[in-house]
């Protein structure tokens, strides 16, 4: 009799442990949440979106039958929380610069534009850091067009694919580019290089242009 009771206790303990072990996150399961209604933002949040209107009904204390977690905008395309800014929206920046409005075809005119930044050591250092982030993988650390994306890598005897047409910035055709030219090409892309204007802010593009000219002298 005593043994039976012990056995029961043991079984309950095992079941409890197994249940709690199921709380652990892994794979597609994010794990059990504690105080779930403090975890999910009711307001719209960037880069997170719960589109299921009934999600979290069980934690809703308002008794209105709505899910507590739902935080998408039903009236936007694809229920997105944010919409693309209206056309011709001007982004404010600390320099008070107006948007760059020179079209892709006007490379010749763009080449005549002067870099608004000075060639200070700090700006060139910034340019180097930005070059390392945005240009290195194709143009290579020295600008020789030998970045890993530009030349391909070989992993375990398998040659990985690469992007062709990466300019060697020390090539004769590129040595005489002006900083305005470089800025324009980063913004709009040229030949096989695609526009990077959406990734790099204008001030950063001028910094990179400054650094590329320094790099070419080496």
């Amino acid at each position: 009799m005593r043994n039976m009771q012990l056995l029961k206790t043991v079984l309950i303990a095992i079941a409890g442990a197994a249940f709690l072990a199921g709380c652990k996150a892994g794979g597609d399961y994010p794990g059990l949440e504690y105080a779930a209604n403090m975890y999910h933002s009711v307001a719209y949040e960037p880069l997170t979106q719960i589109t299921d209107e009934s999600a979290g009904t069980w934690v809703n204390s308002l008794n209105n039958g709505r899910g507590e977690y739902f935080n998408s905008n039903k009236y936007n395309p694809n229920r997105m929380n944010m919409r693309a800014p209206a056309p011709y929206t001007v982004k404010r920046n600390r320099n008070g610069w107006l948007p760059y409005r020179i079209g892709k075809d006007s490379l010749e005119y763009a080449s005549t534009i002067k870099n608004p930044l000075d060639s200070t050591a700090a700006i060139i250092a910034d340019g180097k850091a930005l070059y390392t982030i945005f240009c290195n993988q194709c143009h290579g650390p020295k600008g020789e067009g030998d970045g890993k994306v530009g030349t391909g890598v070989s992993i375990g005897g398998v040659d990985k694919k690469f992007v062709g047409g990466v300019a060697n910035l020390h090539g004769d055709a590129y040595l005489n580019m002006t900083e305005g030219h470089i800025f324009h090409v980063i913004t709009w892309g040229r030949n096989l290089m695609l526009p990077h204007g959406s990734q790099i802010e204008p001030e950063d593009r001028w910094k990179i242009a400054k650094y590329v000219k320094t790099l070419q002298k080496k």
Binding site: T9, G22, K24, F134, F162, A167, N168, Q199, E201
Partner: protein, 407 residues
């Protein structure tokens, strides 16, 4: 008079020689080793980005160009100013332009006749080289697939366990049949005791000592599991959801060494590191249309997202609770912390998982132990003096204030 004639004759000969050498230069491609090496250097620094000798890359394969092109002079003109030649309506130039997907070749105005000829010499020498490189590469490729795959190892292990269990069963059967055989014989008291041991299986199991040990072990293991389990509630460490596109950080950040911030542009600028929009993917994937791991299916999803203008609904991996505020730029830009400090070896992950705990204790630990970098920042000069110029930790400037993260 004779002097003059001989002078004239000399001039004539030099003129003839110059003309001859010029024509020979414009017609014949040198096979001189020196010229070829010079050509190789020029080819690598100017042409290699878009051209290969034996395969089409951006521009056509260059092997046999000297026979294909209308003339050597045409090649020189095209190299120096391809757009002018195309605009002039030259038939072959326009054909090449169309075949290369209307991508203009960069003009190399500064290449001299000699330099272009040496590049041609290199191309010709390369094209005529016997193909031995390919076979060597093939041999290297098959060698790398050695070793037993883990699935086979598991199968072998399971097979061995099955064999062991079978052996136990067989041994048990042998013991019981031996016992039965011995029981039929007349045995002395001593022998009988050996055959029928007083410590049978059931007598051991029913003893209090045994029950106590088992209950103690089970109870303590369960207790530990319960406590461990309770600690995982609200902690999503290890969460590795399947994404709509099988994007591999291992390939992009690991093998190609693309900087994290090339795609996650927000990490130095703002609160969120940002998920790249498909146009950033297309910077490379306009050209690379089939991946080494997944073939064409996954990359095609990016293209279709752009064509249909539908956002890719990535599954968020790091879900910081709404009650805590976190800002990437404060840590990446101001603090200079590597992405890997919190996100772990992302460059080795095919599927991203939450590496760190992301609990409050985890944040606080780091704020207590991390030194503040005050170098070159005058703002901290007075504060440093107050701290007797000892290195300050993040907690010394409010890294433990509740309202820094909870508000």
């Amino acid at each position: 008079m004779t002097h003059q004639i001989s002078g004239l004759f000399k001039n004539l000969i030099t003129a003839l020689f110059i003309v001859l050498s010029l024509t020979s230069f414009s017609q014949d491609i040198s096979s001189d080793a020196g010229v070829i090496t010079q050509g190789e250097t020029l080819f690598n620094s100017n042409c290699k980005a878009c051209h290969r000798v034996d395969q089409k890359l951006i521009g056509p394969a260059l092997a046999g160009i000297e026979d294909r092109a209308p003339s050597i002079d045409w090649i020189k003109e095209f190299v120096r100013n391809s757009s002018k030649l195309i605009a002039s309506g030259d038939e072959y130039a326009n054909k090449v332009y169309e075949e290369s997907g209307k991508i203009l070749m960069t003009s190399f105005t500064s290449l001299s006749d000699d330099q272009i000829m040496s590049i041609l010499a290199y191309v010709k020498a390369e094209a005529e080289k016997p193909e031995e490189v390919a076979t060597v590469a093939d041999g290297g490729g098959t060698g790398s697939g050695d070793g037993v795959p883990p699935t086979y190892l598991n199968a072998i292990l399971v097979g061995m366990i099955v064999i062991l269990v079978l052996l136990l069963v067989i041994l048990g059967l042998i013991i019981s049949s031996l016992k039965r055989y011995l029981d039929q014989k007349d045995l002395t008291e001593e022998d009988r005791e050996v055959v029928h041991s007083p410590f049978t299986f059931s007598s051991i199991v029913q003893s209090t000592g045994f029950i106590f040990i088992v209950v103690f072990l089970v109870a303590s293991i369960s207790f530990k599991t319960v406590i461990d389990g309770l600690y995982t509630i609200g902690v999503q460490q290890g969460y590795a959801p399947k994404q709509p596109i099988a994007f591999s950080h291992k390939v992009h950040a690991g093998e190609y060494e693309i900087d994290c911030q090339y795609c996650h542009t927000g990490a130095i600028k703002g609160r969120s590191a940002n998920i790249p929009s498909p146009n950033i993917c297309m910077n490379c994937h306009t050209q690379i249309r089939s991946g080494t791991n997944t073939g064409e299916t996954e990359i095609a999803k990016i293209v279709s997202a752009i064509e249909t203008n539908r956002p890719i609904e990535w599954v968020r991996v790091h879900n910081l609770p709404d009650l805590a505020y976190f800002n990437h730029s404060q840590h990446v830009n101001v603090g200079g912390i590597e992405c890997q400090t919190c996100h772990g070896p992302i460059e080795e992950m095919d599927v991203v998982k939450q590496y760190s705990l992301l609990t409050m204790g985890w944040c606080i630990d780091c704020h207590r132990t991390t030194d503040l970098n005050t170098k070159g920042n005058e703002y901290y000069d007075n504060l440093l003096e107050l701290h007797n110029n000892n290195a300050m930790k993040v907690e010394d400037i409010g890294g433990l204030e509740c309202a820094k993260c909870h508000y």
